[in-house]
């Protein structure tokens, strides 16, 4: 295209067809319809049965040899009938001109008005099922990823994830899982927002000091993403309520701040075969692993017995770097998304240590313990009637 040329000049010399004419040609056979837009547009709406050859912004890529070769391949030769479309009919006009004048095509037309006119004329288009126009836009940067796609996003929208604790780990994890479009987020926490939480618990805010953490988190999540349903469990997990609370969720995020809850959650999640993404933090250090019952080790395979109190100070006593907590919470969110969609390599059988002062990541192997009293081959079968009965974890952890 010479620089003095306008789009009007180009459109005047190429062949343009209306959407209705293009549709009839396709129905009759003998023509190939090619979408020249960017991938992101294509995800939102396209014509069924079309092919795809992006022509770049303003059609600039259509001047390359690769574009000509790609279209020739899709059409089955340069003598075949080719129909091009884009959003409003400009890019496809430039590309049609390039195909004829630069790449030796004989029979090319551009669809006037593009997909916009196509839809306006009431001709059928293909939109991803199960997602609204707003959702297609909101999650477009996810669905663009081939590993996620519309299907993966729909899995996230249908997933139910439970966060144990809306604190240092749960706050960042919940925030990003909500943004990602996890459809149901359960939050278990009986605490209220304290000023000293705000250095790391980014889902809460100064004006919410004194409010229940689950309520504060719900408000933030609802304003971030209306697709997410938040279920508040304003309670402390214990043996009497754990089965009822966790049974309806697909994945559990362990961000508890004490050992009795961590062992209780492990034993209950193994019974119900729920995957747990478990992390813990202290000072400048974090640990994370993913426990999928019977597929890999459980928390007890890794830590058969809890340490004495002097070896396990709390963040309240020893301090914790807020940013490090955020890193670990987001690593948990990342694991959750992989489990929900079924992609990548979850941290099953692997313990990842993060030393934020040295910026070192260390990975250790975690094996299933043949002696594990919970998931080992000799672990007792739990009858249905005993499902909700657990030993005294406070006592167990007191040594």
């Amino acid at each position: 295209m010479a620089s003095t040329e306008t789009l009007e000049d180009i459109k005047a010399r190429i062949e343009q067809v209306t959407p209705a004419e293009a549709s009839s040609e396709l129905d009759a056979g003998g023509a190939v319809l090619i979408d020249t837009r960017d991938a992101i547009n294509r995800q939102e709406v396209r014509v069924e049965g079309d092919e795809y050859a992006p022509a770049g912004n303003g059609g600039i890529e259509s001047h390359t040899e690769q574009f000509g070769d790609r279209v020739a391949e899709l059409a089955g030769g340069r003598d075949q009938r080719v129909l091009l479309y884009c959003n409003v009919g400009n890019r496809s006009a430039v590309a049609a001109d390039a195909l004829v004048r630069e790449h030796g095509f004989e029979d090319v037309a551009s669809v006037a008005g593009g997909i916009a006119a196509w839809e306006q004329d009431g001709l059928p288009v293909l939109v991803p099922e199960g997602m609204s126009a707003e959702q297609r836009n909101r999650y477009s940067r996810h669905t663009l990823l081939p590993q996620v796609g519309v299907e993966g996003q729909l899995r996230m929208l249908n997933a139910k994830v439970l966060l144990i604790g809306a604190g240092g780990l749960g706050a960042p994890a919940a925030l990003y899982l909500a943004a990602a479009g996890i459809g149901t987020l359960g939050l278990v926490d009986d605490d209220e927002v304290d000023e000293s939480n705000l250095q790391r618990q980014v889902i809460h805010s100064t004006e919410r000091i004194g409010q229940p953490k689950t309520e504060s988190a719900r408000k933030t999540i609802e304003s971030l993403n209306p697709d997410v349903k938040v279920i508040e469990h304003r309670t402390r997990l214990d043996a009497s309520n754990i089965i009822d609370i966790i049974k309806d969720y697909d994945v559990i995020v362990d961000g508890a701040d004490n050992f009795p809850t961590r062992y209780l959650l492990n034993d209950a999640s193994v019974r119900l075969r729920k995957p747990v993404v478990s992390a813990s933090i202290l000072a400048f250090d974090g640990q994370i692993s993913t426990f999928v019952p019977f597929e890999g080790p459980c928390y007890r395979c890794l830590y058969p017995t809890p340490p004495p109190a002097e070896l396990a100070p709390s963040c309240g006593a020893a301090g914790v770097l807020g940013v490090m907590a955020g890193v670990m919470g987001l690593l948990q969110a990342n694991e959750v998304i992989k489990l929900v969609i079924g992609i990548g390599e979850p941290l099953i059988g692997r313990l990842l240590l993060y030393d934020s002062l040295g910026t070192h990541f260390t990975e250790l192997k975690v094996r299933r313990d043949p002696e594990c009293p919970i998931c080992g081959p000799n672990a007792p079968e739990i009858p249905e009637s005993e499902m909700g009965k657990f030993p005294d974890y406070e006592l167990f952890c007191a040594g």
């Binding site: 202290l282 017995t305 809890p306 004495p308 396990a312 192997k365």
Partner: protein
């Protein structure tokens, strides 16, 4: 000399050292050498009978010594012995 990585909760006992090079041809000898140099670590690593405490996880490089030869696992100079405590902070 193998290097022992000391977890944050034990660093008060090792004068703040996060990594300590010690003598010893096995994991047990290396940990004993650490306990000799920093005596207050001894009770936290070992039971009165001299076994590793059950709540202390020890790795040779990335492998749990429980699936190797325990304290008798050979440790070369280039190896790293990781002492790993459970943490419950959230």
């Amino acid at each position: 000399m193998p290097t022992i990585k000391v977890p944050p909760v034990l660093r008060e006992q090792t004068d703040g050292e996060a990594a300590v090079s010690v003598g010893g041809g096995t994991v047990g000898e290396a940990l004993n050498a650490l306990a000799e140099r920093y005596p207050s670590t001894k009770d936290q690593l070992f039971s009165p009978e001299g076994d590793l405490n059950r709540y202390v996880n020890v790795y040779l490089n990335d492998e749990d010594v429980r699936v190797l030869d325990g304290l008798d696992t050979a440790a070369a100079d280039s190896d790293t012995v990781v002492i790993l405590p459970a943490m419950a902070g959230g």
